[in-house]
Symmetry: C2
Subunit: 327 residues, 2 copies
């Protein structure tokens, strides 16, 4: 019997993913990470079946309790009978905290629940590896039939915020009483927030934080979308109902509103733009790295200052762009 | 009189920068940031004149007092009659801290000193804008004739560490008694450290931190380069002499050693590789963004799920790579 072709294998994978097969789906996610042959072909087949899941993005200050909020949301959605997929985006920072590990381990208590699938994604250094993996993994979870897909960022970089801003609803979590030493929320983040959460709101200063956020929201342009502020104490589940309700209200106002059907909303355009861009980059990045590896002579000449890096870059670009197809 | 050509303007800029002209140099840095015509041409002319400055990179935990260490080093180098350029790499994170701003303002006390030039670089979101700007700005400072160029990272991401690891000497700053909540140093960072600083060493636990770091260093492979550990209290200048001396010892062991002359050392290769890669990326990024902007129809089709992002990416790559030259 002949070995199955790439197309046949991709079709088989897509079929299994659509049937919710966990093992095949996990393998596809890994294959996408490793850029194995057939992975992108499977994604092409899955794409028309995505768009059903509600994609929720959660970011916020370090120490704000993002993971605890996600944990409480999983509980709530499970009680509503919804199946939940989670993509935890974890930057491969050279500095790490014990708190992060603790959160990760705690969240694993859902690991035995068939209705929950958690996938941690380490960011692969720089140059945009992050967004591509995240949207791919979210798409696989969507195709698997999860009702809700939560994208949680552990880090606080611009990359993570970009990813979260592509979700249908972007939730930003903060806490009262952030001192000078701990990082404080900046106005820029309000641009992406659809729902704001003041977590640990049993702490002193919660009223003030809510007031400050309200004030910051009032300073936005008149035509800006409404943003709800929710108080929570995620450790005991307080306020999580309200958070889910606020998210649902945003969802129904947003791309799921009847009037949004078949139209290119700003969020849809932003997401599509980012996705296409990341895929182009990913392909070109590999082409560049291959070209660089094969032109060690060029790098060595730059290292010895016999050639400037600008001219070396030009030469490489010529080499890459003369290739008829990069894929 | 005819307007000067691009080459003439680049030559004029290069001449001014080599003469140490602050205004022309600042303009070139800005033009590089904005990708103005002629900026890269000027850099090509300057490149053969770079490589004289001692490039020192400083990174470390948030709250470790990096900026205070840099401040104290500037003082010391100035007393030795050396001119110091500083590139402060500040990630444009949506979360920022009061401490960072305070440091920045404090460091500005050198602003009236002609022998000090401080340039803050905000990272421009994702996809590798960081490294290119940093190495370009460091090269301009080098060409201007600064004896020492300090690259200081405010952030703690992988990008920043990559940048610092390209310096001649990479200094990693930490502090005693990091709890669970604050981020702790990870083994990976030791791979890039040439000199380790335990700052705020008058605090309890300094001995233990030094012992822990020594132990971590002992676990490295036998052939690993020696790494000195220095204690400092940067706020009163204690230990800064020792730090500078440790850096100097590393410098003389490193690429400036007589036996390293004319050879491609691992650090030189790493730096050249990173520089060329960033320039290639920067050029391709612009080509991609232009292509995406001009193919709004493609993005809209993806937004409405009439086309999958993988096929859209393929189409764009074909368009980009059929362009004869990207620059």
């Amino acid at each position: 019997m002949a070995a199955p072709s790439l197309d046949e294998r991709a079709a088989a994978t897509a079929k299994l993913v659509l049937a919710g097969d966990v093992r095949a789906s996990a393998r596809l996610m890994r294959d996408l990470d490793d850029n194995r042959p057939g992975a992108v072909e499977a994604m092409r087949l899955l794409y028309p079946h995505t768009g059903r899941a509600y994609v929720l993005g959660i970011t916020g200050n370090p120490g704000a309790g993002k993971s605890t909020v996600v944990d409480a949301l999983i509980d709530l959605y499970r009680k509503q009978g919804k199946r939940v997929g989670v993509v935890a985006v974890d930057p491969s920072s050279p500095f790490s905290g014990g708190a992060i590990l603790g959160d990760r381990i705690r969240m694993q208590r859902h690991a035995t629940d068939d209705g929950v699938f958690i996938r941690s994604l380490a960011t692969r250094g720089h140059l945009g590896g992050l967004s591509r993996s995240t949207s791919d993994v979210a798409a696989v979870l969507d195709a698997m039939g999860f009702d809700v897909v939560i994208i949680e960022t552990v880090g606080v970089g611009q990359d993570e915020v970009d990813v979260v801003s592509q979700a249908e609803t972007a939730v930003v979590v903060t806490v009262p009483g952030l001192g000078d030493e701990i990082q404080a929320i900046k106005a820029g983040i309000l641009e992406i927030a659809d729902v704001l959460v003041v977590n640990k709101s049993d702490r002193e200063g919660a009223d003030r934080t809510v007031r400050d956020l309200t004030h910051m929201l009032e300073l936005r342009p008149h035509e800006a979308e409404p943003v709800e502020i929710v108080r929570s104490v995620a450790t005991n589940g307080k306020g999580i109902d309200e958070l889910a309700a606020a998210c649902e209200r945003h969802r129904l106002r947003g791309d799921r509103a009847p009037e949004a059907e078949g139209t290119v909303t700003p969020r849809r355009r932003r997401r599509a733009f980012a996705q296409v861009r990341e895929h182009v980059f990913d392909t070109l990045r590999r082409a560049i790295d291959e070209a660089l590896e094969s032109r060690g002579d060029l790098v060595d000449r730059v290292a010895l200052r016999g050639l400037d890096p600008y001219s070396a870059a030009d030469e490489l670009i010529q080499a890459i762009t003369s290739v008829p197809s990069l894929r």
